[in-house]
């Protein structure tokens, strides 16, 4: 779906830049699912994740004129806005978001079986450590897109992915990660 929209992107982008919200929505809609997944993992709260995606969409709409680059820049650009929105959500005063009943048990309760060690290890990572893993392994972004989303160089992105992966499994080699 995203590829299909990307093919029409130049026309949609022209319309969106001219102020057509429908065109912008058509551009952004295929990205809402990965954006939500990114936010849900960073915030560990599904309702807050949807709030963050909504807010990021509005900001992307307002900042559309700042979008630079080729045809494939839209996804990392939008995901970087989502990640920033998540950071802002997490910077709220520590007591301001206390949602005990809203935390699904499965989010923090280790599962039975073989995957529980990895689950536990992922929960021990900070949101910033999880971010490159989500982008690369979960959303399947190539290294250069991860780098653009994180606003760092590809080699730095590779390093951050590897470092976070090693925090999950200390015996991982570079070849096993990439």
């Amino acid at each position: 779906m995203f590829a299909g929209v990307m093919e029409q992107r130049p026309e949609l982008l022209v319309s969106a830049a001219a102020g057509d919200a429908e065109s912008f929505t058509a551009l952004i809609e295929p990205l809402l699912d990965p954006a939500y997944r990114l936010a849900a993992v960073m915030l560990a709260d599904r309702a807050s994740a949807e709030d963050a995606v909504q807010e990021a969409s509005i900001k992307a709409w307002r900042k559309l004129g700042q979008l630079r680059g080729d045809l494939e820049s839209l996804r990392p650009w939008f995901l970087s806005i989502v990640a920033n929105e998540c950071r802002m959500a997490r910077r709220q005063r520590w007591w301001s978001v206390l949602k005990l009943p809203e935390i699904p048990p499965s989010e923090s309760t280790p599962r039975e079986g073989g995957g529980s060690d990895l689950h536990r290890a992922l929960l021990k990572l900070s949101a910033e450590e999880r971010l490159p893993l989500v982008l690369h392994f979960y959303l399947d972004l190539p290294l250069d897109e991860v780098a653009r989303a994180l606003r760092i160089s590809p080699s730095a992105a590779k390093s951050r992915i590897y470092r976070a992966a090693r925090r999950l499994r200390s015996d991982l080699t570079l070849e096993e990660v990439f």
Binding site: G19, Q54, L98, E176
Partner: protein
């Protein structure tokens, strides 16, 4: 394990954490976008106006000092940098700056967990300088006091049984009690400001033991042994910053 296996396994865990977005999300975004196009104007004008207004307001406040009080006034015993001496003290009371009625937070029981998100992206880790316990009518309380720093993401998860895994050594330890609560604090440090015991046996009805499971590379894990059903609530208090975990007494 190859790249594909690792990718598949990690993707599976992330899938479980994230779930799927609600079907209403696209409509919600579409609707919100439909109401903002008029705001896509020349923002620098609005920004400049806002900056000028803010400068005028700050200038007036600085000159007039309407509250007429000296700067740096700190009430005795208040502030995040106070309380240099950890040790047994009475249980925490609700400070004026605490959120309204934090103790109205509901107790969560079997299979439940609670999260206090980080409140700042501070470069320095949260330095824990006191771990206190107390018993109250209906619940026993654990208070974790944070002297300085930030970026604290606190998770507490109930588990069946009181056996925990210590990290990084990986061995297991069984605390007193039938069930447990695992508390994970990210970007925190229990060895700089805290000099109390790593294992506290309380003798209370519900919260019977607390033991440090990890204090390594910015992650602090505490295991709590609970005598009965592990029902707890977690909330923060301010001045000084504290994380409070109340374990409900079995009725």
């Amino acid at each position: 394990m190859g790249n594909d296996n690792f990718r598949r396994e990690i993707g599976h865990v992330f899938d479980e954490m994230a779930g799927s977005p609600s079907s209403a999300l696209p409509d919600r975004v579409r609707s919100s976008l439909a109401h903002v196009p008029e705001q896509r104007g020349p923002y620098w004008i609005a920004g400049l106006a806002a900056a000028l207004i803010a400068a005028v307001v700050i200038g007036v406040l600085v000159v007039a000092n309407p509250l007429n009080r000296p700067a740096n006034t700190v009430a005795p015993g208040a502030g995040t940098n106070s309380s240099p001496t950890p040790g047994p003290t009475p249980g925490p009371t609700l400070s004026p700056e605490a959120p309204p009625n934090p103790q109205e937070a509901q107790f969560v029981c079997t299979g439940g967990s609670a999260i206090l998100p980080e409140y700042a992206q501070a470069p320095l880790p949260a330095v824990i300088d006191a771990v206190r316990t107390g018993t109250h009518a209906g619940y026993d309380r654990l208070t974790i006091q944070i002297k300085s720093g930030g970026a604290t993401d606190v998770r507490a998860t109930i588990q069946t049984g009181a056996t925990f895994t210590r990290s990084p050594r990986g061995d297991q330890v069984t605390l007193a009690g039938k069930n447990g609560i695992l508390v994970i604090i990210h970007n925190a440090d229990l060895h700089t400001g805290y000099s109390g015991p790593a294992d506290i046996k309380t003798g209370y009805a519900s919260l019977v033991e607390i033991q440090t499971l990890e204090d390594f590379e910015g992650v602090v894990q505490l295991g709590i042994g609970v005598s009965g059903a592990a029902c707890f609530r977690m909330f923060p208090l301010s001045n000084p910053n504290r994380v409070v975990i109340d374990v409900q007494n079995a009725s």
